[in-house]
Symmetry: D2
Subunit: 327 residues, 4 copies
């Protein structure tokens, strides 16, 4: 095993105050809460963090606050996509200097670039920066980074150290792992598709950057630990609990409004988000809050059963890692 | 556990002779070979069997031959979709009388029906027939049978005993299992998406109807048995072997031409299929045959290691079924 | 000018009786009515005719009845797609012997063929038949026949004499016309997308095969004649009347149920179609009948104005052209 | 007739210098050239202007330079979409103060908003600004603004004065015109889909914002003037000339690289754009430049014929109308 990025990293919601400004105090508190609950890392300026709805200055400040508050307790993966290559490279270097473990860069969006264009974009960035880069593939929102392009970049660019894939395409995850792992032991595979977290981990992903981990970090942690421990039935039992909660949150209002509702169920009022909702949407959010409260409460009840003593887990982990390693 | 349809059922290719007619002799031989190699059932007139490219009379004869030849050794799931509800019901009753375990009915194709229309179609059939029916969801080719419709039909129609899902949508498989299993212990979930066979089985599918099982039945059988035995690392190792072979066959010529090439690698010349290929496509098939031969040969080498004594498997199965059952 | 197929050909609904059988009497009456109302041809076994929901025998009988009843008054374009190339060629020859002007063959459906596969399919048919063939492109339902493939077939196959395009892609229609018209003066371009009939005619299409012409043949005829006469403002005025009627019919129940409702508004009860509707769908059809009656009545009122003396039309045209000009 | 925005407005490319900075000098020259060539307006910060690849500060400066240079000769439509509602409103007010005729605001991108969310977004902006707003619908790149939402905003928001639609959906354009024109005579319909410019104008659009007008402004002007003059055959003849040039430019490299190549054919080196190209893409651009030169030259040769005396045109029209009529 290498020092690959692994486990569950939270793409944290960005708290805003009543005036719509970044609520730094609340962000610091939320970071502490997540770390206390066992997340393996934080991922500011992800899609859940609504990075495109903040200004370049705000994005920098968000990373700065998260890095400061985490204070080395967990690694930080910072979303660094900006308007163009030059701005993105500048952001990468800034975040690198702040001490992030790596940056995550989504493929260009708005325009749909060809595979060649996506390659050229990442190649130019990877050749210029001095921080580790993870590719962020989310074809629903941005130009797809196809399997061939990931393999090409992995083989040409030492600075590209991983892929965060939110496509939910399980066979593609396998295709990437099959092609890249033999040549790059340091390359990390992360999934952003919470609805298939266990299957993705079973096929070999190192971890996930999952929006639900910002709401029920105990559950996503337990899922990851169960798979690492080789306890697939338990992992699947938990995955089946995660799914209805994920479904309820993903389908509420505009993304990531449902996850803000989920955070409220845990006592975190992180504000209303940066996209306006219509009256009927606001009504729907209000009406659904109780349903989400109930789903979250169900999951919270699980927590006790998940707290195995660390040394037991460690042993299990060692054994299963060997098994999984030979897969 | 109930008497659910389970394991790997082969959606068998339909052999044709040089004149393009159904080659009944070869079909009988192929059926024997598949049963000898351990498939858990046969599925004539599936998509791999090119059902739409045969006439109504040919489709009936194909099922008849397969049922006769199998002679009770394995259950038969017969594709029964015809031009309209009345014709489909007639086919269902004919196949029921022949002794098939169940029929599989694809949602109406060509026109894309609404969820209501798909429901009405299956409801009318289910109310009329005296044979068990499995729904066949393949949104790439036919009207999608959405999760809500499957649940609605499962709760209203005792005759609907299963879903064969080729969408590859893992979270949807979980959503169906979560909703239907508590009310219908007899309801079968089968996956037709070979590239994610292991993950589908892990989330709770009972088995698969997989085109690759017509080429490497030993491998798909071993995959199913490994998951049932709770040996997930082994199952994943095999899944990783299946994937490049599946990718090579699915992308060759027009579907299911690549699977015919795969069968040739095993010594089965099942003829050229019922869709014409252009000269450049025929060239590609010729050129790729050797690559497919090599991929098939690699998998064949595995076979020895897979032959555990039955009693050992049985014990493992019992234990793991209890575990999986509680998932 | 050649003897290209032109004008508005009606893809006629197939009347069925209470028992669901083809209602030949009513079909004959409907054919007469359509011809009396001025349609330029008939197109049995089109998508509106639900060809896939009838048996091979029924399809033959439908064409036979239409050819007999039309009795040379208008040309017949017969849908001839069957389960495979051999069956399709047989149907082509049968229809040719019956005296149809040409056959229309949809690209293979269910499976989505590649451009090469689509080419190979039509090439094999075109080389074998002795009747004129029109390609039928309807990418919503069947494998797309892309622009390059149409051009390739037009340049290689004298028997391929036209394209019936229901994609609604106006620039693609222009691309085909630009490439093919210079080399094939006998090649016909027909549009099946009623919502853009006038624009398609303006860019150079020879006519249309439009489902609405089975409901308001006077209107589609008037549209075609207005464009031919160069009276674009009048044509556009009529197109604006066609659109809400088309929208209402296309969105009702399952296609072509709404067009059956439209026919009922004209006094033609052509039966319930061959796909079952759910109770809520049947309710919707009942509730919407009055709305469709009203839309049809509006168009019927127009009829008088359509036989205005030419000099009156000329004046109107001049005035409207000025209005359009200042818009 | 009202004072609707009409005619052809150029979504101008943003010139960059060798260092990748906005080349203000060249932008001024290009603005002059376009106005001299007869464009009816300019549209900085459109998709062709790569607005998302510039910083907020650069976008402001680009509008400022264009407004100053145009100096009232033609109206300016300024792209004003920023990271969020607040920033967008600020940009609107800034551009209003600069004297733009209106702003154009694309629906939120990256995330795909629901119809309700799109409505809420534009409603909040429209209620806050003191400048006229045009909606910019480009479903290929951003959340779709569906027909119902456009109608809803048109009926509720006096500040919303138009729609710039780049979907290319002709029937939808008709649906919007049919619903909105009766209640809002001041509402402008512009098309951004060059490949169907003439048909869009014929169905009633007031004009277009067309990337090709930045390369061959004479041609797009002639097209618009021909339709306004009621000379549809001439307009269609020109549309057929525009199409291959548009096709060549749209398919070259990453958008809008092909249009930069087109501008080079006219003598305007506007720099390499803000997205990196791979080596093979740069090669393709070089190789294709000559082809684009030729297509542009063909169109340039037309210019003379476009200033024919009206009586000559009239004769040509009559003749071509007859030809079209007999087609």
């Amino acid at each position: 095993m290498s020092d690959r990025i692994s486990g569950i990293l939270t793409p944290n919601i960005t708290p805003v105050d009543a005036a719509g400004r970044v609520d730094e105090e609340r962000l610091r508190g939320y970071v502490d809460w997540l770390i206390d609950r066992g997340v393996d890392g934080l991922y500011p300026n992800g899609s859940t963090g609504e990075f495109v709805r903040f200004t370049a200055e705000e994005r920098r400040r968000i990373v700065e606050v998260v890095v400061q508050q985490a204070d080395g307790r967990v690694p930080i993966l910072a979303g660094a996509a900006e308007a163009n290559v030059k701005e993105t490279i500048d952001a990468c270097e800034t975040y690198g200097a702040m001490g992030v473990r790596a940056v995550a860069i989504v493929a260009p969006f708005y325009y749909r670039l060809s595979a060649e264009g996506v390659y050229a974009y990442f190649r130019e960035i990877a050749d210029a920066v001095s921080v580790d880069v993870t590719l962020y593939n989310i074809p629903l929102f941005a130009s797809p980074i196809d399997v061939g392009t990931v393999i090409r970049l992995a083989s040409e660019c030492p600075r590209v150290v991983g892929i965060k894939d939110s496509s939910g395409d399980l066979p593609n995850m396998m295709r990437m792992i099959a092609a890249i792992r033999p040549m790059r032991d340091d390359f990390t595979f992360l999934t952003g598709w919470d609805a298939a977290l266990v299957p993705m981990l079973i096929v070999g992903a190192d971890g996930g950057t999952n929006a639900t981990s910002g709401v029920v970090p105990e559950l996503t942690r337990a899922i990851h630990r169960s798979v690492v421990a080789g306890n697939i039935p338990e992992a699947m039992r938990l995955q089946y609990q995660l799914l209805p909660l994920f479904d309820a949150m993903i389908s509420l209002g505009e993304f990531p409004e449902g996850f803000r509702a989920g955070a409220r169920s845990r006592g975190w009022n992180l504000g209303p988000g940066r996209v306006p909702l219509s009256e009927s949407q606001r009504d729907a959010v209000s009406r659904t809050q109780r349903e989400i409260d109930a789903l979250v409460a169900e999951v919270a009840d699980l927590d006790e059963s998940l707290v195995l003593p660390p040394e037991t887990i460690e042993k299990i982990v060692q054994r299963v890692m060997r098994q999984l390693g030979s897969a």
